[in-house]
Symmetry: C2
Subunit: 471 residues, 2 copies
């Protein structure tokens, strides 16, 4: 990118969003260069712009489009695949100022929000109307825009589905600067190709979302958490399918591995004692299952808890504990923070491949074999009910790590799964994705990309590029 053109662009961008909201050079804080991906290094953009409206985003895209400057959207930067690492010389469009809940509509059960709203802020706004936004990630500071870009799933997907199922409508700015709207405050629609759904999971490569109409659900009111200790990982995963269907339907069905459990009990006897798990059970357990139940009636919930506890014992649990609210919150938070625990322990990468939930034992067996053959450590934790266990890979050597990752992704594919359940392809998984995906489908995706973004200014290098190594 010629410097003259960039200077020129800087002045124009200042005209579009206000000089105060265009950052360049040393004024750009390091975090604007990336996300939480362990595999993709941060890279400073040429500019960060902070628009306040769709019209300003449109103006930024027109400026970028004329100059063929790459544009990368950024929400809260909590992504896991490097999808908001900008292309060299690019513009980062940060949605930090577009962070309002515009409407909570209790008649139609929807919220209309700007993309910079965090999941926790949205849920807080929905609460007074007796509603909730059921997409519950480990990282509640994630922005709605980011979760739409990756089709984020989270802990409650096993009951309520993923982001896609809650996005009813979008306003978005195309590469041309045109502002389009799709969908609305309704669930049923059959009026042309569903562009709204196409944008979900497109990782900022097709358009920039500037407003979302999201489906809310009635707030349950009562919640209970059951923790089951199992003598083996196999026993945990064998118990998952029967629990997921028939009987009370859990809102979360999470596998807690020894690492996450250790993080809790690391608080000392108090942490462990708070869970009410006796020392002998805790030491005998090689895996735990966390089952969260909700209901609008306290008495029905109590009944369901008993039913689920009974079923867990029938399914081979060593012991079952109904957690008091405080301990449940603590354990849920620990589970949510599993990524940080793994990172602190020195994990070199995290894989969120998805498989049919019945195939989790096969995926984990493949992970163990890959770990053994390469002298790595691979531990899993997460969304057992969805076949989406997150695998922390400990292997500092990049060549060996690459082998582990390739074997994991390939195993996921062989067992009917995909490279990512919710983190997205981004830059981190792009080479594996392109290597393993059917070329006919990649070709279709490139055709779609071309229809939306003929000059390739939207997040180049993410998802579809042909580059072999993460950059």
């Amino acid at each position: 990118m010629a410097d003259a053109l960039l200077v020129d662009a800087g002045a124009l961008l200042a005209g579009a969003v206000g000089a105060r909201h265009v950052l360049s050079g040393p004024a750009i804080a390091e975090e604007y260069g990336g996300d939480e991906s362990l595999a993709v290094a941060r890279r400073a953009p040429a500019y960060v712009v902070r628009p306040a409206s769709a019209a300003e985003v449109a103006e930024v895209l027109r400026i970028a489009g004329e100059r063929r400057i790459p544009v990368t959207a950024r929400g809260a930067g909590t992504g896991m695949s490097g999808a908001c690492v900008p292309a060299p010389g690019g513009i980062v469009v940060s949605f930090e100022r577009m962070n309002r809940v515009l409407e909570v509509d209790a008649v139609n059960h929807v919220a209309v929000v700007q993309p910079g709203v965090s999941l926790e802020a949205l849920d807080r706004a929905a609460a007074p109307a007796g509603l909730c936004y059921p997409v519950r990630l480990g990282e509640p500071s994630a922005s709605v825009g980011g979760t739409i870009a990756t089709n984020a799933g989270g802990m409650h997907a096993v009951r309520h589905g993923v982001t896609r199922h809650h996005v009813l409508g979008l306003e978005a700015v195309l590469a041309s600067g045109a502002i389009v709207r799709g969908g609305g405050k309704y669930v049923k629609t059959s009026a042309g190709y569903d562009l709204t759904q196409l944008l979900v999971g497109s990782e900022g490569t097709l358009a920039l979302v500037t407003e979302a109409t999201l489906r809310l659900r009635p707030r349950a009111g009562h919640s209970a958490t059951v923790l089951a200790a199992f003598g083996s990982e196999e026993d945990v995963f064998r118990a998952v399918p029967p629990l997921a269907g028939g009987g009370p339907e859990p809102v979360a069905l999470e596998y807690v591995d020894l690492l996450a459990m250790a993080a809790i009990t690391a608080d000392g006897p108090e942490g462990a004692a708070g869970l009410g798990v006796p020392e002998d059970v805790r030491l005998a357990a090689l895996g735990h299952l966390l089952v969260v139940l909700e209901d609008r009636s306290a008495s029905r919930l109590e009944e369901d808890v008993e039913t689920v506890a009974g079923r867990l014992l029938e399914l081979g649990a060593l012991d079952v504990f109904v957690l008091p609210a405080g301990a449940a919150r603590k354990l849920a938070e620990a589970r949510e923070r599993a990524f940080w625990t793994a990172k602190a322990a020195g994990a070199d990468d995290v894989v969120d491949a998805v498989v049919p939930r019945g195939a989790l034992p096969a995926l984990l067996a493949a992970a163990r074999a890959a770990a053994e053959d390469t002298g790595s450590l691979v531990t899993g934790c997460g969304h057992a009910g969805d076949g989406n266990v997150h695998l922390s890979v400990f292997q500092p050597d990049p060549v060996r790590r690459d082998e582990v990752l390739r074997r994991l992704f390939r195993a996921a594919g062989e067992h009917g799964g995909a490279v990512s359940g919710e983190h997205g392809v981004g830059r981190a998984k792009k080479p594996y994705f392109l290597e393993l995906e059917d070329p006919a489908k990649v070709e279709l995706m490139r055709g779609i990309k071309l229809a939306f973004d003929p000059h390739g200014i939207l997040n180049p290098g993410v998802l579809l590029d042909s580059g072999r190594s993460p950059q």
Copy 2:
């Protein structure tokens, strides 16, 4: 299409699917020429082929592609928008022989089916595993392939969502003859543009679906139907939003208009008496609401029925009746047959525009005004909980009818809705759709179409063509 080329094609098609399964000329039964749309006339194709596998479909598409012969997919022919009326000289690919449930997977809660399976056959196959396919249309003989093509919704969408939410994976044949697979037996996925979801609702214009992996749900076991009589249409629609959320969640929330009610009571005193609705209430009622509840526990269901009945009275119902199983089935069937009732009564068209459910009164007011101004009759019936009331238009004069339709579609748009909630655009609504939709979005759709079908052989004339009048 030159006759020589067609003869040539006939021999090749016979080679692909077997001579017995290629029909032409007078051997083509009239029904192969169209669907149940009142607005689009049937048209015989040059050939009907009945493939038995994806490989045969691929071969048919290669033959058609080389000769640029239009191809139209056909399921059970129960569509409402003329989307399976073939283009002149085209090939109809009938999926009648690809009608098997390949697998009901009780571990992962999915069914894998061929596109020609009917919804009722699928549900029947799921039952022994304690599962159900919750897409419940008025026409249970509809094929899964057809419901995917239109993203069909039906009666239970208010609780369980539409077809899109149950399609986890697809196998499809591209215009090139390539067979591709997307998605799988999992709900979470973030691995490139979601081609599976893009095919849902694409009305046979992007690819031909040859296999679907569908999400099943636990079967509830117990069901109850509550019928509420209201003194006015306004009262009915005012009651809908409070019933849809908070408290027991209905699986169906259906508006029954006087026409549908008349069809039941037309059975004579027995039909009316079977509902337990006293004569005076029946005569005073100007609209009814049908609320279906389900639960796996009979006692909880009973509790919920009482709660809902109480709420209905609070919300202004003249009277509330818990229907015995036989009467409930009868009423549900009558409601499902509302289209046939309207047709028998002489309806000239049916509009299934969707709006936010809170905007139904505004849409119906616009319908009344349009009816009055044009001397037409417009009556509504249907999915009140989804903002998707089906409007029967009685107006034999095509010019006036066109005005009514245009006003209805425009009103839907003005109130935040869309031209079709579940029937699709097809040929019937194409001119209105193209007139009312944002040209920037239509342009994107054409780009997508081009990426999938560069020679435009897949269902030309449906959805995107620029033709002004239904053909």
